[in-house]
Every structure is written in C-alpha cells, then in structure tokens.
C-alpha cells in the first residue's frame, strides 16, 4: 500500500528514470545471458544456446603460456598511472581555470584543452607516427635544422611508457577538468571572501577550501576509473603502438593481446572467455575498493 502511494506521489520521477532503466536492462542485463558463450564451442549454425558446452576449454589459451599474467600486469600498471596522473592534472587545470581572472582567456583555454578529447585515436596514431618517424618526422626534422643528431624513437623501448602516458593525458585532461571546474563553481563564494578577509593567500585558499570541497568528486571519479582498471584502452594502444612488435612485451594490455591472438581464428567463445575474465576482475576490484571506502567514510562510497 505504501509502495503504491509512493509510486503515485513520485510518478513523474519514475517516468524520468524509466528510459535509463530500460536502456540498462536491454543493453546491459539482457545480454548477460550471453556470458555462457565463453563456456561453449560456438557455431553460427547452432546459435548461442544450441552450441555444445566446452567447459573451460576457451580459457586455456589465456593461461597455459602464462602470458596473461604479464598482460594483466601491464593493463593494471598503465591504468593506474593514467588514473593518478590524469586526476592530478585534471584537478590542477580545473583549479587554474577557476582562478583565472580573464573570462575570455578562460573560455579559449578551456576549449583548447578540451579539443583533443574529440580527436580519434586513429588520428592521434598518425600524429605520433609523423612526429617520431625517423626519416621524415617533425621531431627529427627540427633536430636536424638546429644541427642535432636525429633520435631513433621507434627503436627505444623505454620512452614509449612516457609517450603513451603523455598522449593519454593530453587527450583526457580537458574532459576531467571540466567536471572539476563545475564542482569548484558550486563552492560557496562566501567562504573564499571570508578567507580573504582573514588574510589567506591564494595557495592557502586552494589548500583549505577548494581541495577539501573537491574531495567527493575526486573519489567518485577515481572509483569509476577503478571499475575499468582491467580494461585496456584498445584504441589507444592499437593505434599508437601499432605493429611495433618490439614494444609488445612492455605495452601489451589484455585487449590488444586477445585481439592479436584471435584475429585469424574468429572464435567467439574464446573472445567471450577473455571478456569474462576482465569483467570478473573488474567486478572483484570495484566491490573491494568500494568496501574499503565505505568502511572509512560511508558518504563517499558508490553503493
């Protein structure tokens, strides 16, 4: 009875949430039944449910060579680096933009920083190639013009960690900093004014007002980031590393590894197995991190 009343009372709200509920039900919950494809010897003719069971056969290629451990490690490593570097830079840029006095400059700067977000990785991959190409790249052309020796970037395994992180930040800073900028603009201006009266300088204001106020946003964004920590950014690695097999050991993430293994086989079951492996890891990590957050401060937890 009470439930019905509450439904009637909040009718509009329920209607508003309905599209989202339907969307997730249709595109995220219904397809979950397809998980069983990872345990099947899938054939088009028999379909997902008609195909024969194959037990854990489809998972074998991931584990029996032991490669999955280093690709999982790489995935975790890169995503942790991206998450921490990006969070720091995004907060920093958000604060700088907020503190800037000139409104027009702020707008222009914001758009410029945001722009790379819309550039496809395919195009970024072409940038990278044209910058670091040994014979014709802009970097070496520039070095030659000032009388320096050319750099063999493609032959150097060590620098690619930094190049990849750099491009990832370059692309993602704009998006995140806007989220933080929005959070900053919702901070009560009176706090800043009274701090100013008490003689706090700009760094003290940032340290004691802005940063604590951003904490909840930061935690939520980091938690969301962690939930995808075992999913490699396929597009980025595929387009920046490309076919440079010398880098595979240090840049292979789960997604690129699986792509290369199965490119010729077209086996849906084995691809499904890799997907399930990632999902299971992501699920575990988000549940445990969320649990820890909840323990220390229930207000910040996702669920």
């Amino acid at each position: 009875m009470i439930k019905k009343q509450s439904f009637l009372k909040n009718k509009t709200l329920y209607w508003m949430i309905a599209p989202a509920v339907i969307y997730f039900f249709v595109f995220s919950y219904l397809p979950m039944a397809g998980i069983i494809i990872a345990f099947k010897n899938y054939s088009y003719v028999k379909g997902i449910f008609g195909s024969a069971w194959s037990g854990l056969q489809n998972f074998r290629y991931l584990f029996f060579t032991g490669d999955i451990y280093y690709v999982t490690k790489n995935t975790l490593f890169y995503n942790s680096v991206f998450l921490s570097v990006n969070t720091v830079l995004q907060v920093l840029v958000g604060i700088i933009l907020a503190e800037l006095a000139s409104k027009s400059f702020k707008k222009v700067a914001q758009s410029m920083i945001f722009l790379p977000y819309f550039i496809s990785w395919v195009v970024v991959g072409a940038f990278v190639y044209n910058i670091f190409n040994y014979e014709f790249g802009s970097l070496n052309t520039f070095l030659a013009s000032i009388g320096q020796k050319p750099l063999d970037v493609y032959g150097n395994k060590e620098v690619w960690k930094y190049i990849i992180t750099m491009f990832k930040s370059w692309k993602d800073i704009g998006y995140g900093s806007v989220l933080y900028l929005a959070a900053i603009s919702s901070i009560d201006q009176e706090m800043y004014e009274s701090a100013h009266m008490d003689g706090a300088n700009i760094f003290q204001r940032i340290r004691f007002i802005t940063l604590p106020a951003l904490k909840p946003t930061m935690i939520i964004l980091v938690l969301l980031g962690i939930s995808n920590i075992f999913r490699g950014d396929f597009q980025m690695f595929y387009n920046i590393v490309g076919s440079n097999s010398l880098l595979y050991k240090s840049t292979d993430v789960i997604d690129t590894y699986v792509f290369r293994s199965l490119m010729k086989l077209h086996d849906f079951g084995m691809a499904g197995a890799a997907g399930l492996y990632q999902s299971a890891l992501c699920f575990l990590i988000i549940v445990s991190v969320n649990y820890i957050v909840k323990k220390s401060n229930p207000d910040y937890a996702l669920f």
Partner: protein, 504 residues
C-alpha cells in the same frame, strides 16, 4: 508447346529455389526473352570505383535484354569483409552471388552449407559455355567433399614476386643485372651509400615476409595460405618421394642465417628505422621516388610500370625475377571464383549471368575494363590501352576476379620482359600436393591462438633485423616461446590430417 513446358519448369525452379535441371537447354539459350524478370543481388569485395555505377548501368541494360535480370551489386570493403562475409551467411541474408576464394571463406562456407552445390546438370544447362571452357582438372580442384561450389578460376597466373628497381640508378652505378638476393643486396648497398636522401627499400611490417622466398624458404614450401599460420609451418617439397613432412620453418637453419643477414641490412639502413610501423607499401614509396626498390607480384609490377613510363620515363623502371630459380606454382583454381548463395531464389539465372560474364566478350570487357572509348580502347582481341578516365574505373579492379578467364586482355606497353619471366615460371611450374587440403583446427585452437600471438611478437622484428646484436638471443626466445605455446601439437595434428588427406 515445348516453350510452355520450359517456362513452367523455370517458374517452378524460381519458386522452389531448388535447381534440379533436366535437359531444358533451350530455355537458357533462346527462350530468354520470355524469362520472368528477376532481381539478382551480388556481393563483391573491395571499395566501389568512382565510375562503377555508370559501367554497371550498361551491364544492366544488356542483362535485361539477354536474361531479363536486374543486377544489384554490394561491396564489402577490404577493412571489414572478414567480419561481414561470414555474417551474411550467419544472418541468412537473401542474395544470389558472392565472390569467394581460398582466402575468402571458400572452404569454410562450403562446408558450413552457405553455398549452393553446383551440380554438373546445372552447369551444363545454365552455364554451357563455362562447362565447355573449363578443364576438368579445375573442376576437380574446387571440389569440397566431392561437390563443386564455385565456378573455378581459369586464368593461369602466378603469385610470385619480382624485384622492382630503378634502371637509371643501376646504370649510374654500373650494375647490369639482378639475379640473386646478393645482386639485390649490391644494388641496395650502392643506393644506401650514394643516394642518402632515399630509403633503399622502404619495407613495411607487412612486406618483410616477401624476402623469405628469395632465400630458399620459398613459396613452394608454403601450405595453402589460410593454413600456414602466418608462415610458421611449411613442408619440404624437395623430397619428391611423395611424402609431405611438415617442418617448423623457424627451426630451419636457413631461417637464422637469413635473420643474421637481415641484421646487416638493417644496420646499413636498407630500410627505415621505423619500418616495423611503416604502413606505406613499398610500391607506393617507390612510385613517389622515396625509395629505390620494391618487391611486388608480376601483375602489380606491370601496372606500376605503365604508370611510371608516363610520369617518370627517366627512371627506367626494371623488373627482375625474385624466385631465384625455386619451383613455381600457378595459383590454384580456387584462387578466385564466384559462388551462389544456398538461399538464392534464382540460382539458374545467377548461373546464366556468370556464364555471360565469363565467356561473353562484351560483358567481360565491360566488367573488367569499363566502357570502351571512355575507360579503355581495345586493340585486337588480346590487348587494350587504358585511357585517362581509367582512374575512375581502373582495369581489372572492380572485383571481376571471380569470373576472370583466358579472355583477359593485356595492357599495351607493359613490361618488356613480362613474357620472359612468366615463361620461366611456366617451365618450372609444379602442382601443390596440398592444394585442396583443409585443416580442421578445432583440436588445437588454443595452441593456434597462442602461437599466432607469438609469431606477431617476434617474426617481423627478427626478419627485418631489428634484433641487432641480440638476434640470436631473440631467436632462441622465439623458438622457446613457440614450443611452450604448443607448436608441436599443431604440427602433429596437421601432419596427421595431411597424411589422411594424401592417403585418400
């Protein structure tokens, strides 16, 4: 009266979608004016040419007259045909004709029941000229489980490679011939030393394997393309006692020898330091004047020659056989072909269309070379000249490969030594004993996936000499990784199936 019976019978075929024919030859030949109008849908591979619609409008006008059919063509682009092709069948899409080949799902779809079986009766009735013009050995070659599913490729062709070099530079540095890989090395060497603004041979990550045939691990060792797991497995054709023993090429001493030679080539700068990520084909680099050599198949080299003779006659492009005297193998009859969808409603009309495309001069010329006077000018029955508009419909490019036949015309003004090279290959030609062998990978899928990954990790880097001083170490790592990933199991399984196949 007879005509009426024929018409009724044809109508029945159309309705049932089954095609059992019984000697109604005339129906196809002269009763066409009274055929029921049908629409045919055909899938081809590649990207649609600019003038494609213009050309096929002509084709359609003729088809309407001849067999009262209207043809719609859909292209599956190179980028994603490997995904889309099987999906057409998986989704039960209704269409009539599709291009197929040993590298485009022929065996897979035929065994899965995607293609319609073409019985002798059907072919004799609806494609009589094709039946007459195709040698029986070609029909044998396209058989899968004793059934024919495609009209075979009847053009004799070799997929071997040639060295493409600049004549002006050869003259400049006093080189007069390239016969072996060492001659090629000498050429690259003088370029690297003297033409510092050029990359001697702008190899890309996809092209390095072309070097293998030049050192004795040659084409003849390849298993049919889709089985070779990207060139790890081969077999020794030089054992002529009839047995076919599989070998892991990576463990052949020649492989390491080759790898070490390439370290030298790499160090001397024969190709770019970023060759591993280079996506430009060596052909394009050569055509742009950025590099001094390319390795291409003969047909490709011929087309390039014709382009360059116009734009850069001073380069004096020359071509030399790169097979180094190894046995050559003509492309098999399943290299290119057309199949009919099992779900086609008008298989007999589709066959009639193919018969026209394959054997009728006018259809053949239209679909291969475009419109006479706009795209090409014919010279006799065997040659043609490409006109300027050929850019919008390049000769033999709009995927007519499925119905190519000895009616092919040759471009006037092609390579002067084209015939010489071809004749040499023809002399050495042998038939691949495993041409029709199909590997069933279901027992070794996991090993296959693991090995395939490893090949991509090491093979290009080693073959292009990027291992540097550590090549031997990298090579050992490669062999170990392959062993760990179960290459042995794949070979045992494949050998077992090969033995079964040969004993049949």
């Amino acid at each position: 009266m007879l005509k009426k019976i024929v018409l009724i019978l044809l109508g029945l075929f159309a309705l049932s979608g089954l095609a059992f024919a019984g000697g109604q030859n005339e129906g196809a030949a002269d009763g066409s004016g009274e055929l029921k109008p049908v629409k045919l849908k055909m899938y081809l591979l590649g990207d649609k040419q600019k003038d494609f619609d213009m050309v096929y409008e002509k084709v359609n006008t003729k088809l309407k007259e001849d067999i009262n059919a209207e043809l719609e063509v859909v292209f599956l682009s190179w980028g994603d045909f490997t995904n889309k092709y099987p999906l057409l069948f998986a989704a039960g899409e209704e269409f009539d004709l599709i291009y197929t080949s040993n590298w485009a799902f022929y065996a897979q779809e035929a065994t899965k029941g995607g293609f319609l079986e073409l019985t002798e009766e059907m072919i004799k009735n609806y494609a009589p000229r094709t039946w007459e013009n195709t040698p029986s050995s070609s029909w044998e070659q396209v058989k899968i489980n004793d059934k024919v599913f495609m009209l075979p490729y009847t053009k004799r062709e070799f997929g071997h490679f040639v060295y493409v070099v600049r004549g002006d530079l050869m003259d400049k540095y006093g080189l007069d011939n390239i016969e072996t890989i060492d001659d090629f090395e000498k050429y690259l060497d003088v370029i690297a030393e003297n033409e510092t603004n050029m990359i001697p041979y702008d190899d890309g990550s996809e092209a390095n394997r072309f070097m293998l045939p030049t050192i004795g691990i040659n084409y003849a060792n390849d298993l049919p393309q889709q089985l070779s797991n990207d060139f790890i497995l081969g077999y020794n054709v030089y054992d002529k006692d009839g047995s076919v023993e599989l070998i892991n090429r990576v463990t052949m001493p020649e492989y390491l020898e080759y790898a070490e030679k390439m370290v030298g080539w790499n160090a001397k700068g024969y190709w770019s330091k970023n060759a591993l990520v280079n996506k430009t084909r060596s052909k394009d680099s050569f055509a742009n004047g950025k590099s001094a050599a390319a390795i291409l198949n003969l047909g490709d080299a011929n087309t390039l020659y014709m382009e360059l003779i116009k734009s850069h006659p001073e380069w004096d492009m020359r071509v030399f056989d790169a097979t180094d005297g190894a046995p050559s193998m003509p492309n098999p009859a399943i290299q290119n072909g057309m199949a009919i969808n099992a779900l086609s409603k008008n298989p007999e009309r589709a066959l009639m269309l193919l018969d026209l495309f394959k054997n009728d001069r006018e259809y053949y010329d239209l679909t291969n070379y475009g419109i006479e006077g706009i795209h090409y000018e014919s010279v006799g029955d065997e040659e043609f000249i490409a006109l300027d508009a050929a850019e919008s419909f390049p000769p033999v490019s709009a995927c007519p490969w499925g119905w190519m036949s000895p009616m092919e015309r040759r471009l006037v003004g092609g390579l002067p030594n084209y015939d010489e090279i071809l004749n040499n290959w023809e002399k050495e030609a042998m038939t691949h004993p495993l041409q029709m062998f199909n590997f069933d990978d279901s027992n070794v899928k996991n090993e296959w996936a693991a090995c395939y990954n490893i090949v991509q990790n090491y093979d290009s880097a080693i073959q292009m000499g990027f291992g540097g001083a550590d090549t031997a170490e990298l090579y050992n790592e490669y062999v170990d990784a392959l062993n760990k990933a179960g290459i042995q199991r794949i070979m045992e399984e494949m050998q077992k199936q090969v033995n079964d196949f040969l004993s049949k």
